[in-house]
Assembly symmetry: C2
Homo-oligomer: 190 residues x 2
DNA sequence: CGCGACGTTGATTTGCCTCAACGATTGTGG
DNA sequence: CCACAATCGTTGAGGCAAATCAACGTCGCG
């Protein structure tokens, strides 16, 4: 199975060979090309997704008919529309590959079955979710304490390799800026 | 023990009498008066807090030396600085009661011991954290799709009882508005 | 009563957006 | 292998939502 995935779980809980084998039953690996959709607005988000390799983005269409990116997912990140996933409500989001990507997916029923058979995975997911909450807290803090200019600079210096990897207008959208303004900022800040 | 807390856990997992008794060993109830601090900037956030009754706010001091509220916690909500809690790093936040409050707290060591003795609680916490992630996703979406005016109106219509309960300037801070602007909005919108 | 906490009002300023037009680069079908 | 269209980024003029600043009203409470 996917060694990166195993390694990731193993960072948080003990894994034996049998567990890995059982896990295998429930996890579905899929390879996507660039710009393929894993979820479209109106659909119920039936799975959570783990990025083994590649990059996903999550976005919605706002009132001005433009794409508003709310999240990226890189290697070793989970992504989903959790409201849609938990309550079986139609999603207002799209999830799409930014580049060719290897994804592991697990749907709600498989997840429940897996957790019943491997209750130790509850702990893994609890820790993952807790870290996601911590990340959200940090993001909210930055939004409130930094100006848009500072926010952009902070992002670029924090994730220089990522900024290379995705188009500028996606960074702009994620940070809540217009592409034009980002252009202005780049000129100003060398 | 605190029936609201038991009821809350019971919404997500099965609880027997023995489990409740064990839980009791690890949970520490404290009653706070209005405006007391559970956490101050620079301290390590050693516990997670469950609000049985009352209201907490979490905030930091920004560059302009004003309080910036990032979260509220009402009845049946958990709150903590999870980065500080998980990694034992000094917090940049304050957590303070908005009104007289009954709080249950559990520190990191007790939590680990409790989860070892009651592994079924991993599931409860996993679900709670998952819901917190979903709530964060929703909040980020609102921030991006609504103007400040729309955001304020949306908040007031979504939580009318809450708006009565806390001072206006705290709502303003939480939403990222100035008190002056909120004042203007209230006049305009009846 | 008097002070501090909270809310309001109006004048002024500004950070960032909007709109429109124009390069540069990429990729794709003929 | 070129033509032509998308796609992506840049530039500049003009506008507006929301902040800032300063001053004043009001209420509750010690």
């Amino acid at each position: 199975m996917h060694p990166n995935f195993i390694k990731h779980i193993n960072k948080y809980i003990e894994l034996d060979d049998n567990t890995i084998e059982v896990l295998n039953k429930y996890i579905k690996p899929i390879t996507y090309k660039k710009k393929e959709f894993l979820l479209k607005e109106g659909q119920i988000c039936r799975s959570i997704y783990f990025v083994v390799k590649g990059c996903l983005r999550m976005f919605f269409i706002n009132d001005k008919r433009t794409e508003q990116i709310t999240q990226f997912a890189l290697e070793n990140w989970w992504i989903s529309d959790f409201f849609s996933f938990m309550d079986n409500k139609p999603s207002e989001y799209f999830i799409q590959t930014v580049e060719k990507s290897e994804i592991l997916s697990i749907d709600a029923l498989s997840l429940e079955a897996m957790l019943k058979e491997l209750p130790q995975m509850e702990r893994y997911l609890r820790i993952i979710m807790q870290r996601a909450v911590a990340a959200s807290q940090l993001r909210i803090k930055y939004v409130h304490q930094l100006s848009k200019e500072e926010f952009y600079i902070h992002f670029c210096t924090s994730f220089p390799e990522f900024v290379q990897r995705v188009p500028q207008y996606m960074i702009a959208s994620y940070l809540g800026l217009t592409p034009e303004y980002v252009s202005e900022l780049r000129k100003k800040n060398l």
